[in-house]
C-alpha cells in the first residue's frame, strides 16, 4: 500500500500531451501591437524602511490592434499585464486577455489568463464558448467534450468545467497539477506576491489579471502579507516586458502611446 501511495504522489491525472505544440500557444492568435490605455508603476517598501524595496510593480492595459478598422476602438481586444519584480530578485507576471475576436469555430479554445515565472514556467487558462471536441489538444474522451476550460502548464493540460471549480475533487486535482509542476520556490513566490498585489490595489494598481487565480487556485484565500507595507510611485524606469530578463516570462507586445488615427 505504501508503494502504491508513494507512486500516487508522483503521478497525477494529466490528460493528453503537449497542448502548446498541437493547439497553438497562448499568444499565437493575439495581436502583437497594442496602445497603452493604463500604465501604473509602484514601488513597495516595508514600513519604516525607505531604502529596501520589497517589490516593484507595473500594471499595463493595452488595447490590442485587431488589424482592421470596422471594430470600434472601445471594443478592441485587451491585454492586461501585471508585472512584479521582487526585492529578492524573482520576476513574475499575471496576464489577462479579453475581448478577443470570437473564433470561427465557437468550440475552439481561446487564451484567457496566465501566470509566468522566471525560468520559463507558465500556467495558462483557455476557454471556449461552445462545447465540441474535448478542449485539450489530443481530443480526449468524449466525456470531456462539454467542458469549457483548460488549464495548461508544462506541456500538460487539464480540461475543466468552470461550473465545477467549487467541487473539492476539481480543486484537489488542479492543486496537485500545480504542486507537481511548479518548484516549491515558485509556489512560494506566488503565495508571497499575491497578498502584496491585493494590498497594492488600494494604491491604484488594478489587479484584474489576478482573475486567473480563480481558476488555478479555486476557493483559495491567500494569507495576508505579514509586514506592513508602504507604496510610492516608482522613480526608476518602469519594468519593461521587452527587457531581456522578462523575455522568458512573456511575449512582449509592441506598445504605443495614444490611439491610432487610422
Amino acid at each position: 500500500m505504501t508503494r502504491r501511495l508513494s507512486r500516487t504522489a508522483l503521478a497525477l491525472l494529466l490528460l493528453a500531451g503537449s497542448g502548446r505544440a498541437a493547439a497553438g500557444g497562448f499568444f499565437d492568435d493575439v495581436p502583437r501591437k497594442g496602445y497603452l490605455r493604463d500604465d501604473v508603476s509602484l514601488d513597495v517598501l516595508a514600513t519604516g524602511d525607505r531604502e529596501t524595496v520589497v517589490a516593484r510593480i507595473r500594471y499595463i492595459r493595452l488595447a490590442l490592434d485587431p488589424g482592421r478598422r470596422d471594430i470600434a476602438w472601445d471594443a478592441w481586444p485587451e491585454r492586461e499585464m501585471l508585472m512584479v519584480e521582487r526585492g529578492t530578485g524573482e520576476r513574475l507576471i499575471f496576464e489577462k486577455l479579453s475581448r478577443l475576436a470570437p473564433p470561427a469555430d465557437p468550440s475552439a479554445r481561446q487564451p484567457r489568463g496566465r501566470i509566468a515565472l522566471e525560468g520559463g514556467m507558465a500556467v495558462e487558462t483557455f476557454f471556449r464558448a461552445a462545447p465540441g471536441g474535448a478542449p485539450g489538444s489530443g481530443g480526449g474522451p468524449s466525456a470531456c467534450a462539454a467542458l469549457d476550460a483548460l488549464v495548461l502548464a508544462g506541456g500538460r493540460e487539464i480540461p475543466v468545467a468552470t461550473s465545477d471549480l467549487d467541487a473539492p475533487t476539481v480543486r484537489l486535482g488542479i492543486g496537485q497539477l500545480l504542486e507537481s509542476l511548479l518548484p516549491p520556490r515558485d509556489r512560494e513566490v506566488v503565495d508571497e506576491t499575491v497578498p502584496i498585489l491585493y494590498r497594492a490595489r488600494s494604491q491604484g494598481i488594478p489587479i484584474s489579471p489576478l482573475v486567473v487565480l480563480d481558476h488555478l487556485y479555486p476557493g483559495r484565500t491567500f494569507a495576508p502579507v505579514g509586514t506592513n507595507l508602504t507604496f510610492r510611485t516608482s522613480a526608476a524606469a518602469p519594468l519593461n516586458p521587452a527587457d531581456g530578463a522578462w523575455r522568458t516570462l512573456t511575449e512582449a507586445p509592441e506598445m504605443l502611446p495614444g490611439a491610432p488615427l487610422f
Partner: protein, 203 residues
C-alpha cells in the same frame, strides 16, 4: 423480467459466505438471441474483510472485478480485461477515493462524481490505459437496466464509477433479458471458476 432481476441481484449482490473455502455462484445472463454473458462470482471470507472476485465472459474478452481489503478500513477495487493492470480504486474511510491506472492516478470525492469534470478525468485516466473498460462498464449498465436489477454488488463498484464516463454502449439487447442461476459445468464455466478462485488467492 422480475424473476431475472431477482436472480441477478441474488447472484451479484455482495453476500460473502462464512468459511475458508470460496463460495462460488454462477449466472448466465442472456437476451433473446443477441448475447449471453456467463458470470462467475467467488467469495472468500465475510464482512468488510471479504475478498470477492467476479468474472464476466464477453464475446471477445473477460472482465475481472476484484474487491479486497488489504488492511482494516481500506477497500481495494480492481477491474481489468484479460491481464491484471486495468484500473484500481482505493477507498479509505472519508478520504478521497484514489483511482490508479497505467502509472497515473486521480483522487476524487464520491460526491463529485456527477460533475462533468470528474467524469472527464476518470475517463481520461482509464482511456489511457484500458479504454475497453469504459465500453464494458457502459454495457454492464445496459445489462443492469435491461434486467431490471436495482443494485449490483460492491464488487461492481468500478463499473458504477465508469459507466457514465464513456460513450453509450454499442450493443443493444434484444427482447427480454433473463438471468439463469447455475451451477453449470463444462466450458466456459470451469475455466471461469478456476480463474475466479485463482484471483481470490492473489495478493
Amino acid at each position: 423480467m422480475a424473476r431475472a432481476a431477482a436472480l441477478l441481484a441474488m447472484a451479484l449482490l455482495t453476500r460473502p459466505l462464512a468459511g475458508t473455502e470460496p463460495a462460488v455462484t454462477m449466472l448466465l445472463i442472456a437476451d433473446e438471441g443477441s448475447f449471453s454473458v456467463p458470470v462467475v462470482r467467488a467469495v472468500r471470507g465475510e464482512g468488510p474483510g471479504a475478498t470477492i472476485v467476479a468474472v464476466l465472459a464477453g464475446p471477445r474478452d473477460r472482465l475481472f472485478l476484484r474487491r479486497s481489503s488489504p488492511e482494516p478500513a481500506v477497500v481495494l477495487h480492481e477491474a481489468w480485461i484479460g491481464r491484471p493492470s486495468g484500473v484500481s480504486f482505493t477507498r479509505r474511510g472519508r478520504d478521497p477515493v484514489l483511482a490508479e491506472a497505467g502509472g497515473r492516478s486521480l483522487r476524487f470525492f464520491e460526491a463529485d462524481l456527477p460533475r462533468p469534470t470528474v467524469r472527464c478525468w476518470l475517463a481520461g485516466l482509464v482511456s489511457r490505459s484500458d479504454p475497453k473498460l469504459l465500453e464494458v462498464a457502459a454495457a454492464i449498465r445496459l445489462l443492469k437496466e435491461s434486467s431490471g436489477a436495482t443494485a449490483l454488488g460492491d464488487v461492481f463498484y468500478p463499473m458504477t464509477l465508469l459507466w457514465d464516463a464513456g460513450d453509450p454502449p454499442s450493443i443493444r439487447t434484444k427482447g427480454v433479458v433473463t438471468a439463469r442461476k447455475g451451477p453449470f459445468t463444462g466450458e466456459p464455466w470451469d475455466r471461469l471458476v478456476r480463474d475466479a478462485v485463482e484471483e481470490l488467492g492473489r495478493r
